[in-house]
Amino acid sequence: MKIKLKILLLTILVTQVLVAQQSRLDALGGLSYSIVDIDSQIDPYILGGNPAWLVNSQLNTRLEIDPQYRNSSGDYHRFYESGDIHNIDVGFMGIKPLGNSGTFRGYASYQYEIQKDRNRILTLAPYSGDAFFFTDTTSGDYRYSGPTFEFMHSLEVFNNLYLGASVNYQILDGLKKAYTFAETLYRNVTGNIGIAYRFSNNLSLAVNYQIYDSQEKILANDVNNTDVQTFLYRGDSYKIELRGSSQDYKLKKFGNAFSFQTQIIPSENIIVGINAKYNLHNSSSLFKIGSIIDSEDGYTSFDETNIILQARWIQSSAFTFGFTAGYTGNNSWSRNSKRDLTIWDLGVNDIFSGVGLTYSNVNNSLLVGAEYELHSILADSLKYIDNKFSETSAFNHVARIGVETTLDEMFTVRVGYNFLYKEHDFIFGGDNVTTHFITLAGKIKVSDALEIEPRIEYATTSLSENNLYKNNFGIYTTFRFYKF
């Protein structure tokens, strides 16, 4: 009973502190497993996205409004990507504990994005692993805009048995502002249901099941009366030409994921969490052949396994140690559905491990934290149709540093820095890639019920051997209300 009480008190205490420090992880360079924060709790909700644990993870009412602006520019990008992306987003997130009725979380956002001078591609995310690229013949600005909504509810149905569910709906409207003036309608629906059971104060187990379905519908129909000339690439090299007064294309994705989480508290100052997730999903590349009939030209199957372990030891009020390790395996294959032939087979495995430490002084006016992770990545790429075969392995290094100092009751300053070194960049393809990331942020505590947290981020990534670079810049503000 004493232990239960201690844990409960510790949880409440920590949570209260955390609530006041809600979004500071990004401001501290992305410190996570080695810092005590509401966003870095080692629990099934934060670690595994299990809605059942929301009721235990988020104990306080709050409302956050997050306007933000982001820009990514530079010539270190892939063939179909834009070298200048501007994104404006405003998000609203509210959490409301409802007593015996559990906890409710609501989220809504609206984003507006311009991808300048994007090269040919007409789909929203061309590099998601499938071998199909729907293009036209021009580069031009592409605009996407639309809202996202999410509702989540969690409650304790019986003693120590928790149930939760969420639904997320996103819709985006896109338009290319150059020939072929393609219009995009993208929608994504995700459902997530979870169950968790607290066996004891030291052990909790949870599982959740996610199902998602998305559809991206593209209609290329040139307003200037010219024929629409589009191509569907099967792989990197071979393409079929599609031409007419208009051209319809659909990319349908469907998937489901099963996750398992555990939270172990071997002693009152040590907490360990594991999340294991198996995700099966697929995408179909479709053309319209009748008013309601779609013909499948290509199909891609993905299976992903993610296992992550996090551990935190609050050694004293001054020192917190963190440890993480994990494995991510992503495999996919694409087929030409009309001929039933495999055209691509890709696989990426990432084994990683990291350690971290934060130090706080006696009156909590100064916090310094650091984390380091090493990733060992192995990628197999079998692009049969293109006759390109490769096996690449590399070590990637990530170091994070964050400093927070409280100037007075009203003002707090936060600085974060990341250094990333990649022997090989498995996303963009370069070798010996370095990234420096700096963030400068603050917190203004206007009253007990309102905080304002402005933040500026800047990152520069360079591929020195080719003189290529990319800069990311962002301005963020969080308005946080504790009563609403």
Binding site: E241, R243, D303, N336
Partner: protein, 363 residues
């Protein structure tokens, strides 16, 4: 224990939803073509030799690619994608100028993991007559639906003067029959049906008033004027050799300095305009003057079908042409032209190509 068992069963069910990848992979097909030609000069005597270093044009759903045969007349390709290929082999005659040695093979199915081999029998094509050499139908770059600068270019590939007197130019787009489209032999009586427009040069076949000089081009304009005055990106057809004028249409443009082809389909008042994205154009000697029952295939000098979509069926009778031209996107100022002037192997797919801008009167 039961709960654990149920949990394991659920995981097994979940993972069993995954589809397996096809065993066969693409990009592993192998194709070998031997190109030979009859060097005896006489079709009855077979004396085949390899056509060394022939240019090989391969057309499939993945577009066109050009390869070359080796010294032995063999083209050997490995690791190519599975598809159905149309292949044409071409080479200039080693001793006789203006003669091309050409051979085609169609519908060669190349499957991944298999070795496809065949022989192309090429023969000398003495381009010796009048043929359609270029069609410009899709209009210049514009957004006002302007496509009136159309023209058809003819080429006399023979070494002698040909005469145009009474020669006919047709557009076929009629579809009265359910099984065969425009340009097909609907009644299986040796003619092609579906005439939409019928225009002719002045005079009658056999007369010699309108010469067509050897190795020259003629431009037949829908409207022979400077279309740049309407759309800046268009072309000047003031210097066209001939102009289509429908004498039953009072407002049809008629350049007084350009001689006319006139309409001989009395119920039609339209100018000779062809569709921007698909149509059939045929030229005939003019011996068959009754268009209503179709045009005798024997009188046809040349005919081509162009279309925008490779999935559309070919409707022009295969005794005139066995292929089709993939027309360029409309309103882009691009044109269709024969790869080699005067060389007609009766396969538009392999004989024609897209060119970035029209070339009326020259190539």
């Amino acid at each position: 224990m039961k709960k654990i068992l149920l949990f394991v069963l659920f995981i097994l069910f979940f993972t069993s939803c995954q589809e397996n990848s096809p065993v066969q992979v693409d990009g592993e097909a192998e194709l070998q073509m031997l190109v030979v030609w009859n060097t005896s000069g006489d079709d009855s005597i077979k004396s085949y030799s390899p056509l060394a270093n022939a240019e090989m044009i391969l057309v499939s759903e993945y577009g066109m690619r050009t390869e070359y045969a080796d010294e032995s007349g063999v083209m050997h390709l490995t690791e190519i994608p599975s598809s159905v290929y149309q292949i044409s082999a071409r080479k200039k005659h080693p001793t006789i100028p203006n003669i091309l040695i050409v051979g085609n093979i169609t519908d060669v199915e190349v499957k991944s993991g298999f070795f496809a081999t065949d022989t192309i029998f090429a023969k000398p094509i003495s381009a010796s007559g009048i043929s359609i050499n270029e069609i410009y139908a899709g209009g210049p770059t514009n957004n006002i639906f302007f496509f009136y600068d159309q023209f058809i270019e003819l080429y006399n590939s023979s070494n002698e003067i040909k005469y145009l007197d009474g020669m006919q130019v047709f557009r076929f787009s009629g579809t009265d029959n359910n099984t065969k489209g425009p340009g097909g032999d609907w009644s299986d009586d040796g003619d092609i049906d579906g005439v939409t427009y019928a225009f002719k040069f002045p005079g009658r076949p056999g007369e010699k008033e309108h010469p067509f000089e050897p190795r020259t081009f003629l431009t037949l304009a829908s409207d022979a004027y400077d279309h740049r005055t309407s759309v800046a990106t268009s072309i000047n057809l003031n210097n066209a050799n001939w102009e289509f004028v429908n004498q039953f249409n009072a407002v049809d443009i008629d350049n007084p300095y350009v001689p006319n082809l006139e309409n001989f389909r009395l119920d039609d008042t339209h100018d000779f305009l062809i569709r921007t994205y698909n149509d059939i154009v045929v030229i005939a000697s003019g011996v068959d003057t009754v268009w209503e029952d179709g045009i005798d295939i024997e009188t046809v000098l040349d005919g081509v079908e162009y279309q925008a979509n490779i999935n559309y069926p070919v409707s022009l009778d295969d005794r005139i042409d066995r292929g089709w031209i993939l027309n360029p996107p409309i309103y882009t100022g691009q044109a269709m032209q024969r790869r080699e002037k005067g060389v007609d192997t009766n396969n538009g797919t392999l004989d024609w190509e897209t060119i970035p801008s029209p070339t009326p009167g020259w190539q």
